[in-house]
């Protein structure tokens, strides 16, 4: 089964490759709608991104026994995403969007620890997103008389200002929900954490990117950054619009980062981290400058790689140990060393540490902020980056370091090779993206041209140029490796002959002797300090769940109120009909 779908997943990639950017299909649905597929640089970037992600995840799924329907739905999902990114008109886009919604819904529902409430959360937010999208689409249609991207883009300029704003808000809301911008992220954490472990990687790495694709499509292609600038005016070197969007993104990033630190469930932490990382992308996407777009693109790529890596890693560990909480894991480093190294690479990327790709993308985004002089935005991003070290460390410590928290963990074996293959590929990709940022600029420049923005310079494959300084990824990573190896050689001698023969109680423990009940794993303790910091506490204490839950309660109350009318008394029903008649009679006739 797995092999068949692996091959099936290869097909779209080959298909796309075959066309080399010249794909242009149109298919009349009715006499009014035509479905069209057009391959743009932006679309192909996201297409390859998602297709390759699916391929990698499918490899990892070989280690599990999954049903035909699971694979079929997943394949359908990949096709739906392909439809989204290759769509040349909004109907195709929307069809892809909705198929994506429900096929992922059915996959998620296959998880064993899913409950109705979480499923509802997921689907309702997805549908709200879709409905806000369709509202935007039909409003745009009412002016353009066409669903075609080009036609809508052409007629956008002539729309009234309030319609323009409404369109931007509706589309943005829709895509923000998918990307999990704060306030609209209520579903994200629950869904990511409860979905099938390997599917979470798709959700976080690929599906959320569809929101980002949508934002690019709207801001870059359909409205156009130039038009945004005209509409909203400029601020510093960027646009007012970009500034507002940037604050939304930064707020998302900061809040989600703090929330991530306090999570005990591994996948919840990753989910919040996903929200935070997408917050960066949202922050820079509206700048309307080459660096902004390039940064957002780059971070999209990096985040996809990292989240695939981390989620597959965690899925493997969960499958191996059956535990998914930091307080229940720990000490797996020498039992699953390859996994540990992969996760380490992943979190170095996630934290944005220099030698790997994570830094390159962040640097690009920081550049964008400096370019537009959005200093506070930049500081916000840096700040959230600093806070993210804490959850990165929690991730690696909680799972792999310290002491095992239970006996069962001590006999854990290395995870299956099927989990490791995609991880190794992704880790290599992460290194490569860090080493050759120039190569990525080469990929991005056509997209910038598509948005009619100026291109970015690069010097060879290793150097990314920017107005405020260059970044030689290749130099940094080689210097790092060389120095690392030199020091390793130097220090090699200090390695003692002693084997790893320590009893877990052989540690300095305030002069006391720890016993079997003493908790030696600090996995649970992360983030407890944060509650004592006023500013952070204010963030952690608040939750959008209050709002949504009270909304649900209100809806239920309304429902009860209405259903009281339908209490089945035919006598009263008759009276109501007669009264209605009388009322209309007196109103209408006299």
């Amino acid at each position: 089964m797995n092999s068949i779908f692996l091959l099936l997943n290869l097909l779209p990639i080959l298909f796309l490759y075959q066309f080399e950017g010249a794909l242009h299909v149109s298919l009349p649905l009715t006499n009014e709608f035509t479905l069209s597929l057009i391959q743009t640089p932006l679309g192909s970037f996201f297409a390859y991104l998602s297709l390759i992600s699916f391929l990698l995840v499918t490899i990892a799924q070989k280690s599990k026994k999954l049903s035909f329907s699971y694979y079929a739905l997943q394949f359908l999902l990949s096709l739906a995403m392909l439809a989204i990114v290759l769509a040349g008109d909004f109907i195709t886009f929307f069809i892809g969007w909705e198929i994506m919604t429900w096929s992922s819904y059915f996959i998620i529902s296959k998880s064993n620890n899913m409950n109705i409430k979480s499923l509802q959360k997921y689907i309702l937010f997805s549908l709200a997103s879709a409905f806000s999208l369709i509202a935007g689409i039909v409003i745009a249609y009412s002016f353009a008389n066409s669903f075609d991207f080009v036609a809508i883009s052409n007629s956008f300029e002539s729309m009234p200002f309030n319609i323009k704003v409404a369109l931007i808000v509706l589309f943005s809301l829709s895509f923000f929900t998918k990307a999990g911008v704060i306030g609209l992220h209520y579903w994200v954490v629950d869904t990511y954490s409860k979905a099938p472990d390997l599917f979470s990687s798709i959700l976080s790495a690929v599906m959320s990117k569809m929101g980002i694709y949508g934002l690019f499509l709207i801001y870059g292609n359909i409205i156009g950054y130039h038009e945004l600038k005209i509409m909203f005016g400029t601020m510093l070197n960027g646009t007012d619009f970009g500034y507002v969007l940037a604050w939304i993104g930064v707020a998302t990033s900061i809040i989600a980062t703090f929330k991530a630190i306090t999570q005990d469930e591994v996948k919840k932490l990753l989910a919040y981290s996903s929200i935070a990382q997408l917050g960066y992308i949202v922050a820079v996407i509206g700048f309307g400058t080459s660096y902004g777009v390039a940064g957002a693109m780059y971070h999209t790529l990096i985040h996809t790689i990292i989240k695939l890596l981390l989620f597959i890693n965690v899925a493997a560990i969960v499958a191996q140990t059956g535990k998914n909480k930091f307080s229940e894991l720990g000490g797996l480093i020498y039992r699953t060393p390859v996994s540990f190294v992969m996760l380490l690479i992943g979190i170095i990327g996630l934290a944005g540490m220099p030698p790997l790709g994570g830094f390159a993308s962040k640097f690009m985004m920081y550049n964008a902020a400096i370019d537009t002089k959005f200093a506070l935005i930049l500081i916000g991003m840096l700040f959230s980056g600093a806070a993210s070290f804490l959850y990165c460390y929690k991730l690696v410590y909680g799972i792999y370091l310290g002491h095992p928290t239970s006996k069962s963990l001590e006999s854990t074996k290395e995870v299956s090779i099927h989990y490791l293959i995609p991880q190794i590929i992704l880790a290599l990709l992460l290194v490569l993206t860090g080493a050759f940022p120039g190569a990525f600029i080469k990929v991005i420049n056509p997209i910038l041209k598509e948005f009619s923005l100026s291109t970015i310079g690069y010097d060879g494959l290793g150097v990314m140029q920017s107005a405020v300084g260059n970044f030689n990824g290749f130099f940094i990573i080689s210097a790092f490796v060389v120095i690392f190896l030199l020091i390793l050689l130097l220090i090699w001698r200090i390695k003692s002959k002693a084997k790893n023969n320590l009893n877990r109680f052989d540690i300095s423990y305030c002069g006391e002797v720890p016993t079997a009940d003493t908790s030696l794993h600090y996995g649970y303790g992360f983030g407890t300090e944060l509650y004592r910091i006023k500013f952070v506490n204010a963030i952690l204490k608040r939750s959008s769940s209050h709002f949504y839950e009270s909304l649900a309660t209100q809806t239920k109350k309304t429902s009860e109120l209405f259903s009281r009318m339908y209490y089945g008394n035919i006598h009263n029903t008759m009276i109501i009909i007669l009264l209605f008649f009388s009322a209309l009679f007196f109103l209408g006739v006299n």
Partner: protein, 297 residues
């Protein structure tokens, strides 16, 4: 090239340890107790290096300090210690200020990995406190750095130094940013009032709990390397860099002493107090400086 780098490292090593010794010396004097010699840290480190390790926590315990040291050395290379050296300038321009900001954290992270491997909850507690403190600590510093970058419109340190040669020192042009950065520096040096993560009185020695012998020595040496690199960074950013060894020592020493004097008079903040404090006054000062740069610069 390799020779120059090794020379640089040696210089940093020596200066770093001397400063560390001085710090202990001066502190003792101020507090009116017997003081160690300036070279005490050297002796300590030599003693520790010659010790034998008898237990093992596994390979990650080794790699952690090595990553840390790598970070320190890389930082040192990327900071132009001598602003007129062509070699250093060319190396520096491969990276930029952002690379440095992140490299400064790479060391602690490597350390943290090793601490985690060590398996001592107190060590991890110290690490967590350190990382938590970092949230607050980096804020004013970041603001200062961002302010300078925007003012110079470049994230290249060499460029910032060159700008100061023309337009005057940043400490004069942007005093508020300097103050913000200095307050952060106090924390970066592990001085009071922000010294909680490693304070032995607090969490049983903090991150270093499980380290001994050669590891402790490695930790100390990279700590001094880092300290030196940070001092040089401040000098480069605000004092226009240093052309010669004397200028370098003078400027870094000035910064160093002021940091010590700031630190020594305060009691210790709890970690949340520290973050709270850092998020208020220093951040405010730095933001004011930044606003000046962005809106009126």
């Amino acid at each position: 090239m390799v020779f120059q780098i090794i020379l640089l490292i040696m210089l940093a090593y020596v200066v770093g340890f001397i400063y560390f010794g001085l710090y202990r010396n001066i502190t003792a004097r101020i507090q009116g107790r017997y003081r160690p010699t300036v070279y005490q840290s050297f002796y300590d480190s030599i003693k520790l290096f010659s010790k034998k390790q008898s237990v093992s926590y596994g390979w990650m315990f080794y790699l952690g300090p090595i990553i840390m040291a790598t970070g320190a050395v890389l930082t040192l290379i990327l900071v132009p210690v001598f602003s007129d050296s062509d070699f250093l300038r060319s190396v520096t321009s491969q990276g930029n200020l952002f690379v440095l900001l992140y490299l400064m954290v790479l060391g602690p992270l490597g350390n943290a990995l090793a601490v985690g491997t060590g398996g001592n909850p107190f060590g991890v507690m110290g690490v967590v406190r350190g990382l938590t403190r970092l949230i607050g600590l980096e804020l004013p510093f970041y603001i200062a750095v961002v302010g300078l970058i925007i003012a110079a419109n470049s994230s290249d340190i060499v460029h910032i130094i060159d700008m100061q040669k023309i337009g005057g020192l940043n400490i004069i042009n942007h005093p508020l940013l300097f103050i913000g950065a200095m307050i952060s520096m106090v924390g970066f040096f592990g001085e009071s009032p922000f010294d909680i993560p490693g304070a032995p009185q607090e969490v049983y020695s903090g991150p270093r709990t499980e380290f001994s012998g050669k590891f402790l020595a490695l930790l100390m040496s990279q700590g001094s390397l880092f300290a030196f690199a940070k001092l040089v960074l401040i000098v480069d950013l605000f004092l226009g860099g240093a052309d010669s060894l004397e200028m370098l020592v003078l400027k870094t020493f000035a910064i160093f002493v002021s940091i010590i004097f700031i630190g020594i008079v305060y009691g210790r903040y709890k970690v949340e107090q520290a973050v709270d404090f850092l998020m208020k006054l220093p951040t405010l000062i730095a933001v004011l400086g930044l606003a000046r740069v962005v809106w009126f610069g």
